[in-house]
């Protein structure tokens, strides 16, 4: 969930950690203090490219209370559509990009008796902001991170400032997950971040061992997308593409249309818009069941379209 007011970030430094990993440090391009962040937060970065802009989310890896610098680590994905390729090849120190303010749905649990972090590869990034906070609060932590054998050194270096005896870097594919999960005391919370396959495997193993959903937390960067569709603006006749990783509200805002919004989470009613044609896919908490089945209203901040074309009264 983004907050609509992107911030301009200037690249202060780029550091190659390995052939496919780069750490990038940003400062505010307008000289203002950066919006406050918190452990586990991420920003959505807009990276310009030849075939259009790409918007990817990256966890902030630095000290969460730092208001002058944001740091991210980006993996160059071999078959990427362009976002990470652009980051690795085209960006230079001094470039200015726009980013969403930090948001987070991946948060440390205050009531946890123990925090168990399991991750893989680039999934280490949100953990890098968790670890200093967990240590500062002297909390029970256990961490298992699975990386390619040729990257063990890189990741050990990344974890060096946060090193603790209950932390292990494993070379190779994630195996022995059940052994890690078995025998964890009551009140342990599990945080998972890494390649989709690893996250699914760890989650499945936890469920097999009887862990409840409320104790399993995964970083999905608040994935809120869906099938792309076309929105037609009745008053002007304009048609806009709503991309799979973009909300209807974001598409309207990107096109310069002044749609009111407040919570951007489907709860407050502020962005209520009339639907004139097409079938909305409701994902909000505001409309009543009757209003939803009538199909003449939509909350663009979270809802999408079942029909390929949706006509709204804007």
């Amino acid at each position: 969930m983004t907050l609509g007011r992107d911030i301009p970030l200037r690249i202060r430094a780029i550091e190659a950690l390995s052939p496919s990993l780069k750490r990038i440090a940003f400062v505010a391009a307008d000289g203002n203090p950066l919006p406050g962040s918190r452990p586990g937060a991420h920003i959505a970065l807009t990276v310009p490219g030849i075939d259009g802009a790409h918007r990817n989310s990256y966890s902030l890896v630095g000290a969460h209370q730092d208001r002058t610098t944001y740091e991210v680590i980006v993996r160059r994905v071999a078959q990427s559509r362009g976002g990470s390729a652009q980051v690795h090849e085209a960006l230079r120190v001094g470039d200015v990009l726009s980013a969403s303010p930090p948001t987070s749905q991946f948060n440390l649990q205050n009531k946890a008796k123990k925090h168990l972090l399991i991750g893989g590869g680039i999934g280490i990034t949100p953990f890098l902001s968790f670890l200093p906070v967990l240590r500062e609060r002297n909390l029970a932590v256990e961490m298992h991170h699975f990386v390619r054998p040729d990257e063990v050194t890189v990741f050990e270096r990344l974890l060096l400032p946060h090193r603790m005896p209950t932390m292990r870097i494993h070379a190779g594919r994630a195996v022995g997950i059940e052994d890690i999960l078995k025998g964890q005391p009551l009140g342990t919370h599990l945080y998972i971040c890494g390649p989709v396959g690893l996250m699914q495997d760890v989650e499945a193993a936890a469920y097999r061992l009887g862990w409840p959903t409320s104790n399993i937390h995964q970083e999905s960067f608040g994935a809120s997308g869906g099938r792309p569709f076309i929105v037609e603006l009745a008053r002007s006749g304009r048609k806009l593409q709503v991309g799979e990783n973009q909300s209807l509200l974001e598409a309207l805002e990107a096109a310069g249309l002044p749609v009111r919004s407040m919570c951007r989470g489907g709860a407050c009613g502020e962005c209520l818009t009339q639907v004139l044609a097409g079938e909305p896919e409701h994902r909000d908490h505001f409309l009543t069941a009757a209003e939803k089945s009538n199909g003449d209203r939509i909350m663009p901040c979270v809802s999408r379209s079942i029909s390929p074309l949706l006509t709204i009264d804007i």
Binding site: K113, L181, K182, G183, Q184, P185, L186, G187, T188, Y207, L209, G210, W211, P212, T213, S214, N215
Partner: protein
């Protein structure tokens, strides 16, 4: 009389949670009435069952693999529960059947030992007599069956509300004649 207070706990027959790995059932009687459990989830469906025998010679089995254990009283049982949960592992589900004060006392120990709401299931049955927390003097009086009663701590005539605190395991009691001292309506026997 429905005070219209929403959010009271709702209870249903206990059913083993298929997603759990180990199922521990606690009851406040020696024999668990079958109609307090879902018919698909009889006592035998649970891995272990603890009961309260209510006599002084009851003692839990020495064999840790025993499937049933009998205790002398609620207090005797909860001491053992605290120690057991401290050694337990994720995947456990805790179930309690008995009076409302009993099941929430079990819930309190579970919460203290790290169990979350979804890992505990409660069925309050039998007497609906209430524990009432006097909001003025903080004394909790047990076994209250009437709508108005005299606080055992400060003597105030308390109206027993339907607002329930799971943490305190008690309903709120507020002085009924605070505005006009002496103006106390007749009490009704409601919570039997």
């Amino acid at each position: 009389m429905d005070q219209g207070i929403k959010s009271r706990p709702k209870y249903e027959k206990l059913r083993r949670d298929a997603a759990g790995r180990f199922h521990l059932l606690l009851a406040d009687q020696a024999v668990i009435p079958p109609d307090t459990l879902d018919h698909d989830s009889p006592v035998g469906a649970f891995d272990e069952c603890w009961t309260i025998e209510r006599h002084s010679k009851a003692i839990p089995e020495a064999d840790p693999n025993a499937r049933t254990h009998g205790f002398r009283s609620q207090e005797h049982m909860l001491i053992a529960l605290r120690h057991r949960l401290a050694r337990e592992h994720m995947g456990l589900r805790l179930y309690a059947v008995g009076t409302e004060p009993f099941v929430w006392a079990v819930h309190g120990v579970g919460d203290e030992q790290g169990l979350g709401h979804s890992e505990m299931r409660l069925n309050a049955t039998g007497s609906t007599a209430r524990r009432v927390y006097c909001n003025h003097c903080r004394t909790i009086s047990a076994g209250v069956t009437t709508s108005i009663f005299q606080c055992t701590g400060c003597n105030a005539s308390l109206f027993v509300r339907d607002h329930f605190s799971r943490r305190l395991n008690a309903f709120a009691g507020i002085q009924i004649d605070a505005e006009v001292p002496g103006d106390v309506p007749p009490a009704e026997e409601l919570y039997l």
